[in-house]
Amino acid sequence: MTTRAHPFRRQATVAALKETIVFWLLRAFTYVILGFGAIIFSIIIYKGSPAVFGSIRFDGAFPFIHNDFLFTKPQTLHIFRYKGELKQMSAAQYYAFTGEGTPETAPAAATPEQPLAPAVHATTEVVTPSPARATNAASALLAPATPTPPAETPAPSAAQPKIDPNDITEHETYSYAAGGIWPQIVGTVLLVIGSMTIALILGIFSAVYLSEYSKQGPLISAIRLAIVNLAGVPSIVFGLFGVGIFVIGMGWNISLLAGWFTLAFMVLPVIITASEESLRAVPRGFREGSLALGATKWQTIFSNVLPYALPGILTSSVLGIARVAGETAPILFTAAYATSDKLPWELSITPNRMHSGFLGYVEYPFLWIHDFALHGVSALPYHIYVVSSKIPQNEYTERVQYGTAFVFLAVVMAIALSSVLLRIRLRNRLKW
């Protein structure tokens, strides 16, 4: 049966051809982008996940599941032949194995990490052996073939026969390559929490002022424009700003505090702009209804506007979190240590008892806060930078590079996810 000629018959026109080409072009571009994204993510997952999941270890000591890649400090990788057998060990494990450098007094067989590559910034803290903390490192194990008893078991070093150093041949060490990124994870989380807290407080306050209190005029428009433009300032400029104002100006040196404020200022524009949007989206009736009942402006905003704008503000802060966690440049000069042998809460340089004038020695129980805030931290993005460009590259560094990148992605995702969950909870409670 032949198709009858009718006026609506599909014909091969130039317009139809263009339409097809445009459709396929758009589709191709989109999928190319998606494809690259997928490739990047799968490489990171493929190469990074073994570092994390491969170092899961089950044994008797609390908390029963151990992961030396995630929960130890950065360690040097030792590669050597022991009686002809090739072995890979982390520093802690190596010293436990050889018994070398083990203090006789310390029951747990461990020494603090070795100094790291000289190319790295000389910000390494002075190492003071702390046996309680070192136990963690002592249990580090890279080669499952050579099990080391968990450090918590009584006097493992005594049970371990001291080996003959002559049995070790072809001994090589590689800085950082044994993994251990716990200080970096902690640092990143601390930086994100602190700077987002500061940014949200400052951002919401100024958004409330701009959208609810200020008289709209040329000045306010100029301020708003300036804020929007700040969002486009490169992050390294914020880093230098942080150096000028906080590190040098306020005299905070390279510290968590300086990093918090630098990162907070970096995400403020995004948060202010988005908060203003969310505040404007709250129906006018809520404000009028509240004011008509004799509420003051602040009462109205606090109890009847802000709660309903909060889900929107949190949505925008998810973006901020990704940026805060991901940026290396702003913390490069303000907060990041290439490595630190102590976690922020383990630092107590300042003694609790201080001589304060005629009062004599006075107890200051909260001085640890001072030490906590005024020391730098290690952070995941900076660690990636360090392990991929500041130390000699070899076949063993790849593991820690991809492992760190993988963990970094997971941390950012976890933080963003918790923010999304919080938002959903809030939204369910405050639906209108």
Partner: protein, 283 residues
């Protein structure tokens, strides 16, 4: 928004809860003391003049209805009475004064917050807060720092009974107010307004978004409320003004054309414009 046909039907349904007052009664009530004195008020939105020399008193414990076509300034005048127009930038009273109980409410010494506690408002679009019914009603009290459970419970019951809503919601006081129907939401807003015990309640087209049944309920409520409160109601619906007000003021183009007892306005208006509007020739 004029639902003339359904409202005409419901007009017959309205059960007059209050016994129809005798004419002499009515007259006596029209001579009630003045509570709001509007004195030659000019009002501007920026450069454009919205009200031209409005001048009339509002009587205590009577229902005064403002009628007139859209844009005639009736809502603007209503919102002047509790200074809600302060929220709109660029508005000002050009001349004249509004006195409530003898006090000029635009005097710099007046605390707007106190004013709004005494002059409650119900809006055109019902605006319950996205909280529980209970929290909606006690909102105004919590603002005043009253948190005693017994006091709040008592107020909730009194206000909801006052707004003829108690029987319908007593079992779900702690569920969201947004689960209520449109009419219930509007009555909840009225309950919320009377919870803070104002003297005057301003209603800005309270029934324009409601169906006829809900409208009847709100109108009944207005009948009850006028025992205790002075009510000023803006409405587009002339039947409604006829049914529930004692005094009607007709506005046109920002001017007060005529004000009189409602029956007089609707049966025997003195101005031609009033007659034209009421008979539906324009507006």
């Amino acid at each position: 928004m004029d639902e003339s046909k359904p409202s005409a039907q419901t007009a017959e349904v309205v059960p007059t809860k209050v016994a129809a007052p005798s004419p002499s009664d009515k007259l006596a009530r029209l001579n009630a003391p003045t509570i709001i004195d509007i004195n030659n008020v000019d009002f501007y939105y920026g450069a454009s003049k919205a009200l031209h020399g409005i001048n009339f008193p509002i009587k205590n414990k009577l229902v005064t209805a403002f009628i007139g076509p859209s844009g005639c300034g009736k809502s603007t005048l209503l919102r002047c009475l509790n200074r809600m127009n302060d929220l709109v930038e660029g508005t000002r009273i050009g001349a004249g004064s509004i006195k409530i109980s003898g006090v000029d409410i635009y005097d710099p010494s007046v605390d707007v917050i106190e004013l709004r506690k005494r002059v409650g408002m119900v809006f055109q679009k019902s605006n319950p807060f996205p909280k529980s019914i209970y929290e909606n009603v006690v909102y105004g009290l919590r603002l005043q720092g009253i948190n005693s459970k017994s006091r709040l419970d008592e107020t909730v019951e009194r206000s909801l009974r006052g707004a003829a809503l108690w029987e319908e919601v007593r079992d779900r006081l702690h569920t969201s107010a947004l689960g209520l129907s449109g009419g219930q939401q509007q009555r909840l807003c009225i309950a919320r307004a009377i919870a803070v015990e104002p003297e005057i309640i301003l209603m800005d087209e309270p029934c324009s978004a409601l169906d006829p049944i809900a409208t009847v309920k709100v109108e009944e409520l207005i009948h009850q409320l006028k025992q205790d409160y002075t009510i000023v109601i803006v409405t587009h619906n002339m039947q409604q003004a006829g049914r529930c007000s004692d005094i009607t003021a007709f506005f046109y183009m920002g001017r007060l054309i005529e004000i009189d007892a409602t029956e007089k306005i609707f049966t025997n208006p003195t101005q031609k414009q009033t007659e034209d509007y009421i008979s539906g020739r324009f507006g």
